[in-house]
Symmetry: C2
Subunit: 221 residues, 2 copies
């Protein structure tokens, strides 16, 4: 009986990891669509977002059923709650990838971002995708040693985002207001995507160790 129960917990974590892989694909494709003005790829990401939302709903349903039928306590309860929180973050990552894809579609066939800032977006896209894939590994394997590296990758993302922002705000910005606005919003989508990936990783660390990284305190939430 208990084995079946822990199988269910494992299955729940596995589905969350799969969902995280889906939003990694979404951001990878959205970034390609953005930089290569690929309308078909943009449409693929846009229509694929519904599936991400559906997976989140079914994870919540499964978590609710586990709580209602099994009344878990201690670590198991923490796990289920962490999965519920993480699924919300991962859905938001999917929404952010969707925003990127929509920007690619909106400006098509014109490039969505000026050529001289495209390297920033290529880099942010690479980091974002890696963050999501690493988060999926952390969930699947409970490998909390990777969480520190994930946070460092997100710090690199924030550096690039800050750098990009200074380029936009520089007097030398030659691409006009509309492009500045587009690039500002797009930069923010990548930055928030990274923040959510870190949040997912931290929740997993909390489940495994009983401590929320960065809080510093000892109280068991």
């Amino acid at each position: 009986m208990r084995e079946a129960y822990h199988d269910q917990l494992e299955e729940l974590a596995g589905r969350l990891a799969d969902m995280t892989g889906m939003v990694a694909d979404a951001m990878e494709n959205a970034t390609s669509a953005l930089l290569q003005a690929d309308l078909g790829l943009a449409e693929q990401v846009i229509s694929g977002d519904q599936k991400v939302d559906d997976v989140r709903s079914s994870i919540e349903e499964q978590a609710y059923a586990l709580l209602a039928l099994q009344a878990p306590v201690a670590t198991d309860l923490r796990t289920v709650l962490a999965v519920i929180h993480a699924a919300e973050s991962v859905e938001r990552m999917g929404d952010l990838a969707l925003h990127v894809a929509k920007a690619a579609r909106r400006r098509h066939p014109a490039p969505a971002v000026p050529e001289d800032v495209q390297p920033y977006f290529a880099e942010m896209g690479t980091i974002a995708t890696k963050l999501a894939r690493d988060a999926a590994v952390i969930i699947r394997e409970k490998d909390v040693t990777r969480a520190r590296a994930l946070e460092e990758d997100d710090d690199a993302m924030d550096d690039i985002h800050r750098h990009l922002f200074s380029v936009i705000m520089d007097k030398e910005w030659a691409h006009g207001v509309a492009a500045a606005v587009d690039v500002t919003l797009l930069g923010r989508f990548y930055e928030r995507y990274g923040d959510h990936a870190v949040s997912v990783a931290k929740r997993t660390v909390f489940v495994v160790t009983g401590r929320m990284p960065g809080y510093g305190g000892d109280e068991d939430l």
Copy 2:
């Protein structure tokens, strides 16, 4: 025993409503700070955000304890889970008000937004504050009839935001790139604040009625 348990649920909902009131105050003050270049008020919002985060932590702690000790099912379980989700949204609303206050501080003593778009921000600030206060009422009184009106107010927010965006993107925009970028980000903070308020209201409706508004389906999550 059951009475004490339902008292605890009521207390949890009450604390969530209080937290929602706190972020309503934060956004109201942040908007005033923004439009009146009030540095003191901006600093007040900025330092007040830690308290919002602390309340969210303690609500999560209390919810966890309820789940672990009481093993609620059905409506009670839905209530506790909805409170956990809603607390996350309300904390994000606090963060968005914090961003507005930081923008006010960053540009001080210069106005944070050009004079001709200040009326948009005054209006978005009024709506945002109302959305949060209405969400608090809905939580406290389980008054789901208000949820429809709340969504309409958020639609009004989105209209203003879209209008503001078209002003920024217009060829006649005379305030330069930096101001366009600032106004873009600030507009997005208000728009996301409204989205989160709607999310909180929807979660409450779900608890009370068993249906998530807008889903249209009959399945009990």
